[in-house]
Each structure stands twice: as structure tokens, then as C-alpha cells.
Symmetry: D2
Subunit: 336 residues, 4 copies
């Protein structure tokens, strides 16, 4: 860590140096006219910087080590590839997870699944537990929904991605799902993260509504540190002042995360934009920016959806988009 002190007295400097040495750091001091810089290397990384920050004379404290370890590229050079039989995420083949926002009925889900399958996607998505802003909105079919997902899985061969919202039901979700999704609102629900860390199913971790890339990677670190190394990150837009789109899709997070971490990254352009007309262009942009996969809302009849109809593609639009994505994937040396 680096400590910058301002117009420092001998005494204040000594106190900080002693404190840093107490944490096991090696100390190097550079003194200028107005500022003194203390370089502290070695030492433990669990020091709370704010304790140094408030010592007399200290102007700022700058960490020099990334706070995450297991998720970092430095820890593991090669890309993590997660296997599901002959499907995989993180390799050369683009994974597509598609389906309705919420599981509404077996008929609806099956209809969606057939569309998804026919268009060439490998995963069906659909929420059985739905995080809703309002307590009066549809909250999901819960275990009934999970059962429908499993039935559709058996009928179509599609793999299932669905959300777990609390530690208690995470185990239940794991029985039915191939991938357990952690939603944006739960990215820092640390009890839930610790719980899914114990489950031997891959976790899809959505970026929080206003999470920095570092906080997102730290949330993933919770899961890896708990023993589950199969984490897929999912960029789904961040909250900004712009109201035209529901969120602002941060596509630059894709190459950024690929540099910082070995984990696969996918993108959800449906929730990010909230407007079906923008889903296609954003899906394509994400693909060429390096995303390992896409999560796309498709509904057999969007205008009758229980939630988020405005961002769902119709079966036909989804078909067209998949063809375009396949073509583009091939153009950049990947497949779909």
C-alpha cells in the first residue's frame, strides 16, 4: 500500500511507520517538500485501509494489490471453460441462454423452449423465483416452476438456467437447474454467495445494478473462496442517469473482465436495454467485443407476458437474430 502524508511532523510519520511495520510491511519513505510518500510492501492484505487513512497527517492511502485473488488472471492464466456434456461456456463456442423472463405455465415454457431449441440455443432460461420491485407483482411459480423447467429439459434436451434468491431455496434450485443464476439485486447478498459456493453446480453471477467491476469480481471471489470454481459472469447493464434505456449496457466490461479474470463472461442485452429493438444490435456488439455467451429473452407471445414483455423477442425475431449471430461468430473465428 502507499500512504501519502501532507506537511508531516516527525512524530506523525513515525506513528504511521510503526503501525505499518506492525502489520508486517517493509517501509520505503520518499520525502518531498509538501508531501511524504510511504511505500509499504509485503505484509498482510487484510489491513483495513481506513484505519491508516484517519491517522494524523495522512492524506490518502492507495492500495496496490487487487483485492481479489482466485478470480484473477494472475492466479490462473488460462481461460476457465465450464463443461456441460458436449456443450461448454468459455471456449470457442458461443453459449446462448434464451427463454421467457418468468415461467408462467408449462405450455408457455414448452412453446418458448421449442423456439429456443429450433433456433440453435443450448440453454433455456426462465425464472421460477422472481425478484420483483413490488410485493403485489407476480412472484413466480416457485417449486412448480422448477418442475416445469425440469420437464422441459427432459422433453427438449435444453440445459436449464434459473435463479436462486435465498440461501434456503438454493439447494432446491440446484436439484432442478444446470446453472444457478444469482440476480443483480443479490450480487452482494453474501449469505447467498456463501451458500451457492457449497453447491456443485455452475453459478451465473449477474453484475449488480451499480456494482463496479471490482465489486463484481469480489462477489465472484466469495464463490470461488467457498469452493465453487465454476462461475460465469453476466453483464446486464448498469444504472446511469440515462432513461431512454432501462440500464446502460457496459460492453467495455467484457474485454475488461477478460483481462482481469479467467472466468467466462456473458451478456444479457434484454434486461440491459429494456427495449426489444435494441436487443439485436447489443447482442452482436457483445459478441464481437469478446463475450462468451448471451442471455436473451424470448417469449412465445410477448404482449401476454407476466413480466418484461417489452424487452422480449418474438420467436421470429429470435430466429433471425440467431442466424445473424451464427454468421458473425463464424466471421470472428468462433461458432454458435
Amino acid at each position: 500500500m502507499i500512504v501519502v502524508m501532507s506537511r508531516v511532523t516527525e512524530e506523525d510519520l513515525q506513528r504511521v511507520v510503526d503501525k505499518l511495520k506492525g502489520y508486517g510491511f517493509d517501509i520505503h519513505i520518499s520525502s518531498g517538500v509538501a508531501k511524504t510518500i510511504i511505500g509499504a510492501v509485503g505484509g498482510s492484505k487484510t489491513v483495513d485501509l481506513s484505519n491508516i487513512e484517519m491517522m494524523p497527517g495522512v492524506e490518502k492511502v492507495v492500495p496496490i494489490l487487487q483485492p481479489y485473488k482466485l478470480v484473477s488472471r494472475e492466479f490462473k492464466q488460462e481461460d476457465t471453460i465450464i463443461k456441460f456434456g458436449d456443450t461448454e461456456i468459455g471456449g470457442n463456442k458461443i453459449a446462448v441462454m434464451a427463454g421467457p423472463c418468468a415461467v408462467e405455465s408449462y405450455e408457455q415454457l414448452l412453446a418458448a423452449a421449442k423456439v429456443v431449441k429450433a433456433a440453435g440455443a443450448q440453454f433455456i432460461r426462465g425464472g421460477a423465483f422472481k425478484p420483483r420491485t413490488s410485493p403485489y407483482s407476480f412472484q413466480g411459480l416457485e417449486e412448480e416452476g422448477l418442475k416445469m423447467l425440469k420437464a422441459v429439459r427432459e422433453e427438449t434436451g435444453l440445459l436449464v438456467v434459473t435463479e436462486a434468491m435465498d440461501p434456503k431455496s438454493a439447494e432446491l434450485v440446484a436439484e432442478y437447474a444446470d446453472i444457478i443464476q444469482i440476480g443483480a439485486r443479490n450480487m452482494q447478498n453474501f449469505f447467498l454467495l456463501k451458500e451457492v459456493a457449497k453447491i456443485s453446480k455452475p453459478i451465473l453471477l449477474k453484475r449488480g445494478l451499480s456494482a463496479t467491476i471490482e465489486e463484481w469480481l469480489m462477489a465472484a471471489e466469495y464463490i470461488l473462496a467457498g469452493g465453487n470454481y465454476d462461475v460465469i459472469l453476466c453483464e446486464r447493464g448498469i444504472r446511469t442517469y440515462e432513461t431512454y434505456t432501462r440500464n446502460t449496457l457496459d460492453i467495455s466490461a467484457v474485454p475488461a473482465v477478460k483481462m482481469l479474470s479467467h472466468l467466462p463472461v456473458i451478456v444479457d442485452p434484454s434486461h440491459a436495454t429494456g427495449k426489444w429493438r435494441l436487443v439485436g444490435p447489443m447482442a452482436k456488439a457483445s459478441l464481437v467485443a469478446g463475450a462468451d455467451g448471451l442471455m436473451i429473452e424470448v417469449h412465445p407471445k410477448p404482449s401476454e407476458a407476466f413480466s418484461d414483455g417489452a424487452q422480449s423477442l418474438t420467436p421470429q425475431n429470435f430466429h433471425v437474430l440467431m442466424d445473424e449471430l451464427r454468421y458473425l461468430a463464424n466471421a470472428i473465428g468462433k461458432s454458435l
Copy 2:
């Protein structure tokens, strides 16, 4: 709700009208050259607006009813006052909750509690379960910490505010605490909200890191809708682009919430600013803006704190601030 349609065909218009009538709405149509406005009144409020939004010809859908009900001023005109023996929150007396960020030891907590008590605050705060960005940071003393809080409560007569982080341990926290805090990261942890709604202890609901006032009130609505009417809202700064302060304290949320809702509102200037020098001015500003209380970090030795030392007041600074707040409260016809 209002539906705005653009260069609409007779057919598209009819389809929307039929759909709205199907939901039980009364329909009024205003036709201009470029736009047609449909006013839909009456009807159910659980219609998902996005389903209308995506019908052909629809440009936008504007809700006209606030999505919350039980928390609203319209539902209950008079201020909610929550009683704790002879202390109360929401009335004329300013509630002050002070103490360390985390419970670190019985000695630390008791030392802090004595300071808090001597300065005239009514509540001791301190986390036994700590939501931490890093899995490697101190996570709290858990039940041991809760026991220390209870012991200090018995020794000093201070009431206890402490955080519950997951549905499973909420019941446990309720056994020890006078007020159960829901942290910013859990504001939309809906399972947790539903769980604390069943507990007969007041809930302090912190505003989420990037929650709108409406989302915050909707989170409170979950708790009231579940049967617990004793909710205290706590503004604690929102995430913005500004990095000088940890968050940006939105003091305007205080009078805004007091207009929209009958629930009491307090402010946490410590977490909001992250800098102890700003805590005093922001505490005073919150008070005159109409806050019903304050939550302030005080640590017997801030530079030895396990977390967030940089935002903690020393005992002496807290004493001075409390005197200033008391004087100011009197000046505006309240007490402390």
C-alpha cells in the same frame, strides 16, 4: 394509466383499447394529429405496463398511480411514531443511534456505549453480522456479537440496533435487538424483507446503493404488506460519479419521503460521506431538513477499528456534535 400512441391505425388502437378494457379499465381517447392519448382509469393496478408498451403503435405507457400503498401519505395522513418505552422515533424527539461499525469485543463495545450514553444518545448500534465486499475481511462476531450487544444493553439501558443479513438468522437477531437493520445491499433482498415482515420488532431499512426513492418505498411496502408496520427509513448516501465522498448523501430525500410517506426517516452521515470531518455538518443539515433521527459511527479508538475507522468520530468529537445537535434541535422546536 395513460397510453400514448403514435400515427396509429384504427386497428392498433382497437387492440389496445380491448386489452385495457379486458383489465377492467374505463377508456377515454384524445386524438391529435400525430399522437393519440388513451386515459385508462379504474382497473387493476397489477397490470404489467411493459405488455401494453410493446403492442403495435404504442409509444409509451405512463402509470398514474403510485405503486406503493400502505407506506403512502395518502393511505395514512399522520406520521408514524414508533415507541420504545419512553423513547420514540418519528415524533418531536430526535433519535440518535451511535456506536462502532462492527462489534469487535465486549470491551470496545462497552467503552463505545458509555460514550454514546453519556452524550445523550438512546441507541447503541454495532454490527454482529457484517456485509463486507471481500470474503477475506472481518465478517463479524455473529451470535457472540449479539450477546455482547445484549449485555451492553443491560448494563447501560441503551436500546440496540443491529443488522440481519439473511432470512435464517433474522429471527436470531430479533431475539437480541430492539431494531433490526436491513443494510443497503439487502434493500431488495425480498426473501429477507418478507421474513422480517413477520417479526414484531421495528425494522430500520437503509436505502440501497443506487435505489430510487420509489424503489426504497416499495421495499418498505414489502414489510408493511407482510404485516410489520414499524419501519424506519434510513438515507445513507447514493452512488454517484463523485469520488471525494464515499457516497453522495441525498438530504433532499428526507423532505421528499416525508411528503410521500408517513414513515419516520433518519440519516446516516457516516457511511454516506466516509470522512469523519464531514459527519458533523451533514448531521446538522439532516436535522434541519426534517430527519427524525441520526445514525452516527463512534469508536473509542477509530484508528484501531476493524472497519471504517476513517468515518468514525472520536468520543470527544461525538460529544461536541451532540451538544451542537441538541442546541439546533431546540432551535427548530424539537428536542434531542
Copy 3:
């Protein structure tokens, strides 16, 4: 416009209706139990909504017409294509504007221009007037820099894009430039917009640091309303809480603007990300999202640049990127 009134009295309603009729609107009233909706169609569009908003009983006022006209797709269906001899912007060919952030010397500019030309770009960019946060930073070579740009133009045949920062010097810039750039900080410098509206050179209008899409289009509307129809919009990242990238590139603004407006849109991934490693992926993503062009920083020796070296590509990296972009452009039926 739509006016929503709450628990309204006959008198308050009448006052609002009279006021709206005074503005020439036709009025349609829908009365519900709690709310009354007034649809006001026709009438003048220059009514200040806030005057209605503050009338007794009024809860909110919702505009129904977009505030821009000349820039809108409704006003002009077909894409605007701006011609420069045999080069064009807005058509099938991707325009690339590349070069150093600032013009530093004739040698530096010429070296950059040769790289830009050899890689196949059509425009050289470089600032002669530099908006700098600090008064102590390099402010640009001013007219000397403009002369160098012109000389390089003559030597290489590249077209010149450079920024005008104030109304007084806009005319001067116009003498030397093929496209006059308005920087992000000046997007709402309305005197400058009115001034460049009178000049018969195309204007490249960067999106403001925290401008909404609507505000950006309104700024363009100033230029069109002043008589200059050749406006190129440039997305360059918006300010968010994320600090890993300098700004957050809002690629979804590209298809959004293409739907709302007939004007061409280009993207500047260099200023948006502030990190040269992210420039390539973001350039490619912008291209497939529908951008009509790209603005990319290239410097012969980035580590010796007077400004923004960290986001500049080296000549070699630029060459490689241009090849990838050309290939990708062909793959989506465009050329470069």
C-alpha cells in the same frame, strides 16, 4: 401533453383546463376515483410544462411530443449522408477518423497522418484548441496547429477533423477543417452551436459527459434549426460511477439514435475507455451495432504524447485494428 391531477376540486380542474385552452389545446378529461387525467392535444409546443406542473391539484405533466423536430426520423425518413468528394459519412462505407489527441508539431502530425493514411482511414483528427481541465496543461498550438493540419491535408489528401471551442474562433477553424468538432464539454454551449450553425461545413457533435440522448439530439437541433443540416453525432462515453474505464461507452446509444434520428452516428472508443487495450474491442462492437464511423486516437509515440497517451494506439496496433474492422465491415455488408 397529459396532465394528471390528484383528488381534484372542480375549481382546480377548471383552472387547468382554461389555461390549456388558452394555449390552444383541445382537451379530453378522464376521471377516476383518485386521479383525473387531462389529455391536451394540438396547441403550441413551446409551453413550459413547469408552469402547469405547479398549479394547484396537478400531480404531474407528461409531454407527448418529442421536443426535437428537424433531427427526427419522423421529419426525415431516409438517412442523412454527408459527402466529401468521393468519401461519405452515413452511407455504406465506414468512416474512420484517426490521429493524435493534440497537434504537437508538424513532424508528429505528419508521422501520424502517414500511419492513418496507410491503414486506410479517410480523416486525420487532431486538436489545435484543446479543452483541458487544468489551466496549467498544454492548451494546444491554436492557429499554428490549424496550419499544420492544412499542410498535412495537402500532403496526404486526408480530410481534417478538428475542434472549435468558442464562437469567435469557429470561423477560423472552418477555414482549415473539413469537419468542425464540438467537444463533449461544449455540447450545450449554445452560443457556439448557433455560431457553427451558420458555417457551411459539417459539424461533428460529441455527446456531453452526462447528456441524455434527448439532450444530445436537442443540441443537434440547435445546429439544424440554425441552417446547417450536416451534423454527425459522436458517442464518446458517459460519466458513471465506474472508475475502471474513464467513461462508460454507451453503445446502445448508436441503434437508439439511428431509430430516433436520420443523422449519422460515429463512436470514439479512445476517449470513452481511456485505455488503449479496450479500444479495439469497443471499435468492433460499435461497428456491428450500427455505427457509421469511428474516431480513434493514434500517436506515432504514445508514451511521448502531450495528452492522453494511455488511450492512443501505436501505429502497429492501429494497422491490425483497421484490418480487423475492414474484415468485419465486409462481413456485415458494409465497407471500410
Copy 4:
């Protein structure tokens, strides 16, 4: 400055050290296992950090000196007090600038001025040049408006605050105004800043829509560096994701700026909130947070205002607020 390098080679390190020495810095190196820290003290402050940032092996560069000098507390310890005859800004007396958003007519302005004067404010505010989002909105009465301000000044003895929007008309505004306002949209209009730096009238510099505190102080530095030391800073709300208020008033910026700078700071709660009901609480909060003054919109008939009626106080509400502010100022040892 501090340079952090990662897994560095001897060669890369030497290159950075040589470059820093070339800038005149003294160099101190701390080597850890993963990271090497270079402390560079002394040297010139106009080095562009991004040039170091992109050198091989460099992970990040951290500046240690504040980029501003003349505006800093370190440069000048005592508060700057700006005198206007027997009125002053920055001292013990709270300055209040009130009046309509725009000058609409002599009658309107005079009526407002009489209200402002009677309530005890010292300054009349009103825009003759109006920065408007739309080219079709009222743009101000321009020089006619300035003349009305001067006439009202003569009639009432109130001092005049009004905005200059471009370098050309700044001189003109200076002839009529006692304080020249630079609006939020022009905070980084550097030509305008340089121009008003040459004028011997105090400058009121509004914080930009999404300006950091540092950028705001740097904009002030432009004016001081140009020779005009009489700058008043004005916090007016920043752009956030929250839509309930027009902007989010950052009251914490008041004590923050008072620590970092010697310049006076005032607050504009009217533009910040956009809702007249919030103006009073935010004015009071700003006062106790340490603001040296307030800028408040008052209109004789808000619902007939040409702009921003919804945030204007009526004469009666303004009177009541001024009484409350006077009482509160006295309570904290100031006057109004």
C-alpha cells in the same frame, strides 16, 4: 507522483525511472514480490500522467499533489471575503440572491425585486441570457434584460447577479451586473472562463451537471490564474439516476469545498431540486452545513413564469423562508 509497476523487468523499471528523472523528479523505489512502487517527488507538476501510465510494466499512476493551487486552502489559509459596499460574501453574514429564473419584463422583475428586498435579501437574480435545452424555448431578453436589471438595481438598491454565456457578451454583462454568473453548462467553457478572468467583477461559478469537486475547483483555478481572485462557488445539484428531484443536491460539497479551498460557497436549492416544496428544507440544510449564501428562485406569479415555474417560491413562501433562515442563521452565530 506514485508509479505502481507489476512484475516488472529491470529494463522497464529503468525506462520509467529515466523518464521521471527527465522530468526533474527525485526517485525512491520500493520493491515487493508482485509490485514495485516508485515514489517521485519534486519535479514539474505539468507532466501528463497518462504518458507514464502507458509505459510497459506500469499498472497505475497516482498523483499526490492536488492539481489546483491558487484556489487551495494550502495556498491561502483565511477565507476569501468578497465585499460589495457594506454587503459581503464569505464572511459571517449569509448572502441571499433571489429573483426569477429569467427576466421577462420590467414589471415582473420589479415586482420580484420588491419582494426580494422586503424579505431582506441583498441580491436580485434573473437571467437576461438563458441557456435552454431547446432552440425553440425562450432564450432571454438579452441586452434589454440587462437594462431592466440595472434599472431595478437603481430603484431598489439590490445588487445584480446575472449570467454571461459567451466570451463575446461577457464584457457587456459586466457593465450591468455586480456579479457575473457562469452557468453549470458552461463550467468547462474554458474560453469563457479565461475571458471573465480578465474582468474586475466577482464571478459566481456554478458546479457543472456532473462535475467532480476537483473539476469544479480546477474551473475556478482558471479564473484565478487569469487574474480574477473574486470567485464564488455555487453548488446546484448533480446529475444522478434519481428522477424524483431534477438533480441531487450535494450538500456535502459545501463543507468539502470549505476544507479544500478558501473561496466562498453558496447553494442553489431551486435548480437542484426542481420542486418548490423542497427548496425550504434544502436551503436550511445548506445554511447549517456551512454555506455562505443561497440562490433562490422567487417569482411574483410562478404559474405564469416563462421558465422553471415549478421550482419558484411565491412571494409569501419566500417571506416565510427568509424568516426561518434568519432565525437559523442567528442560532448558529451568523446573521442574514
